[in-house]
Amino acid sequence: MGKYITRRVLQMIPLMIGISLIIFLIIQAAPGGPEGMMLQSGLTIDPAVIEAYRHRLGVDQPIYIQYFRWFSAALSGDLGISYTSTRPVWVMILERLPATLELMAVSFLLAAVIAIPMGIYSALHQYSPFDFTATFFSFLGIAMPVFWFGLILQLVFSVKLGWLPVAGTGTVGSESLSDHIKHLILPSIVLSLHYIAGWSRYMRSSMLGVIRADYIRTAYAKGMVERMVVLNHAVKNALIPVITIMALHMAALFSGAVITETIFAWPGIGRLFIQSMNSRDYPVLMGILMMGSFMVVIFNLFADIVYGWLDPRISYQ
C-alpha cells in the first residue's frame, strides 16, 4: 500500500508537467498580450512604454524560457503577478478559495445526504412509486441546464416568494450566521443537483447488485433482522463504488462552481475566473487552471486510495 501510494505520487510529477505545458501553450495562443488592455483603452501609448512593460513582465523572452521561468516559479508556489491588479496571483486565489471551498463542501454534503438514502430506498423498493418518481427526477436533474435551474430558483424563491436572497454571501449591514446560511441555500442546491441525480442512480444500481448476493441470503438465513442486514451488510458493500465516484466528482464540482458563482454573485474562484477572462488577465487564468487541475489529480489519487482501503479484494502491486 505504501509502495503503491509512493508510486502514484511519483507518477503525478510528469502528469503535472504535462498539464502545465498544455495550459501554458493554450494561454500563449491567446490573442493580445498583457498590453491588450492598455491598447483597448483607446489612449495613444508610447511604444517604448509598452516595450518596457512587456520586458518587466518577461513576455519579450522566447516561449520556452517563459515556460521554464513560469513553471519553476509555480513549483515554489509563485504563480506570477496579475496584469490588472498587479498583486501576486496566489494571494488573489487564496483570498477567494474559502468561499469556493465552502460552497463545494456544503453542496457535496447536501448531495450525499440526499442521494444515498434515496438510492438505498429505491433499490429496496424497486419499481415502487417512490422508485419511479426518484428515477424520473434523476433523469430530470441530469438533463437540467444548471444555470437555468439557478435562474428559475431565483425567480421563484427570491423574486416571487421573497423567502431567500437573490445573490451574494450576506446582507450588507446585517451579517449573521443565519443570514449567511440563507444566502448559501440556493447556490448549494443548484450546484448539488447533478450529483444528487447521478449518485442516487449509482447507489440504486450498486445496491441492487449487492442485495442479490449470497452473503445477504446467508445473513437472512442466520435470522438477522432486516434492518441489520441492510445497514451492516448491504449498504456497507454497496457504498464502495459510490464513494469512489463521489471522490472523483469532488474535483468536478469545481467546474460547476464557475457557473453557480456567476449566477449567484458568490465571491469565489469561479467569479474571479470569469472576471479575469473578461479583463484578459492571463496569469490569473493560468493560476486558476493549474490549481483546478491539481485538485483533480489529487482527488483522483484520493479516490484510488479510498477504493483500495474500503475494498480489501483490491490488491496493489
Binding site: 438533463a143 441546464p145 486558476i288 487552471l289
Partner: protein, 299 residues
C-alpha cells in the same frame, strides 16, 4: 429437425426459431423501452420543427414589432415577445436549429476522435498506448468548463469554431472505453484468424474490432449530444458562445437574465426547450443502451 446423439434424438422445433438480423433485434428491443420510443418521437418532432422553422414559424426570426413589445404569451404570440417585439416561439425554433446542430456535430466529432484514439491505443499497445493514454490523463485532469471558457473567449465564437472546441474537449471518455474493449478484443480468436489470413491492421480495426464496440460508441454519442447542447448553452449564457443576432437557446437566456422578474416567459421557454431536448436525447440513449447490450436481452 432432429439431431441424433449419444443420449438419443433431440428435437429442435425449427418452425418456432426465428432468425432475425442484428439490426432488427436491436430495433425490437428498443421498441420495448416505451419511454425511449416516446422520447425519440418527440425528438424527431422538435428537430424537424426547428429545421423547418422558415416554413412553420409564424414570424421572421428578426422581425421587430415595436407595437407588440414585452407581451406575455397570447394566442398571437404563443410564448410572448421580447424587448424588441420579436416573437419568442419563432426565435426558439430558429435557435433550436443552431443548438441542435452544434450538439450533434460536436458529439460526432468528439466520439469519432475518441474512438480513433482509443482503437489505436488499444490495438497497438506499447508506446502508442502509453503515449496516448498519458495524453488522455492530462486532458482529463484539466477542468473542462474553465478550459472551454478560455478557448471560446479566444475565438470569434462562430458556430463551426464552437463545434470544434466542444468536440475536441469531449473525446476522453470514448477513448478510454474503446481502448479497454480493443485491448480485450484483439486477443480473441476471430482477430487472430483475420490476422492469419493476412488482413491489414486497418481492416482488422474497421471490420473486426469496431463493429464489436459499436454499442457503447452509439450510446456514448447519443448522450454526448445532450451534454454538448448543455455546454453550448452554458457558454452562450456566459456570453462566450454564438453571438446575437443569431439566436441560440443559450444566448436567449443570457438576454433574458436581466429582465427575469418582469418577463419570466423569456427565461422559462428557452430553458424548457433545452431541458426537453436533453431529456429526450438521454432517454433515447438509455433505450439504446438496453437494446444494444446483449447481456440485458430477453429479460
Amino acid at each position: 429437425m432432429a439431431v441424433a446423439g449419444r443420449l438419443g434424438e433431440i428435437k429442435i422445433p425449427l418452425e418456432k426459431t426465428r432468425f432475425v438480423s442484428q439490426r432488427r433485434l436491436v430495433w425490437e428491443n428498443f421498441k420495448r423501452h416505451k419511454i425511449a420510443v416516446i422520447a425519440a418521437i418527440l425528438f424527431v418532432i422538435m428537430t424537424v420543427a426547428c429545421y423547418a422553422a422558415p416554413l412553420i414559424a409564424p414570424y421572421e426570426f428578426d422581425e421587430i414589432n415595436l407595437s407588440a413589445i414585452r407581451q406575455p404569451p397570447s394566442p398571437e404570440h404563443w410564448m410572448g415577445t421580447d424587448d424588441l417585439g420579436r416573437d419568442l416561439f419563432t426565435r426558439i425554433l430558429y435557435g433550436g436549429r443552431i443548438s441542435i446542430t452544434i450538439g450533434i456535430m460536436a458529439a460526432l466529432i468528439g466520439t469519432s476522435l475518441g474512438a480513433f484514439m482509443g482503437a489505436l491505443s488499444g490495438f497497438y499497445g506499447g508506446h502508442v498506448d502509453n503515449g496516448l493514454m498519458r495524453f488522455t490523463d492530462i486532458a482529463y485532469s484539466i477542468p473542462t468548463l474553465p478550459l472551454l471558457i478560455v478557448l471560446s473567449s479566444f475565438s470569434n465564437a462562430a458556430v463551426p469554431i464552437i463545434v470544434l472546441i466542444i468536440g475536441f474537449l469531449s473525446w476522453m471518455p470514448t477513448a478510454r472505453v474503446v481502448r479497454g474493449s480493443a485491448l480485450s478484443l484483439k486477443q480473441k480468436e476471430f482477430v487472430e484468424s483475420a490476422r492469419m489470413i493476412g488482413a491489414l491492421d486497418r481492416t482488422i480495426i474497421w471490420k473486426h474490432i469496431m463493429p464489436n464496440i459499436a454499442g457503447p460508441i452509439i450510446v456514448g454519442t447519443t448522450l454526448a449530444v445532450g451534454s454538448a447542447i448543455i455546454i453550448e448553452s452554458s457558454l452562450s449564457f456566459l456570453g462566450l458562445g454564438v453571438q446575437p443576432p443569431t439566436p441560440t437557446w443559450g444566448n436567449m437566456l443570457m438576454d433574458a437574465q436581466s429582465t427575469m422578474a418582469s418577463k419570466p416567459w423569456l427565461t422559462i421557454f428557452p430553458g424548457l426547450a433545452i431541458l426537453f431536448i436533453v431529456l429526450e436525447v438521454n432517454f433515447i440513449g438509455d433505450g439504446l443502451h438496453d437494446a444494444l447490450d446483449p447481456t440485458l436481452r430477453n429479460r
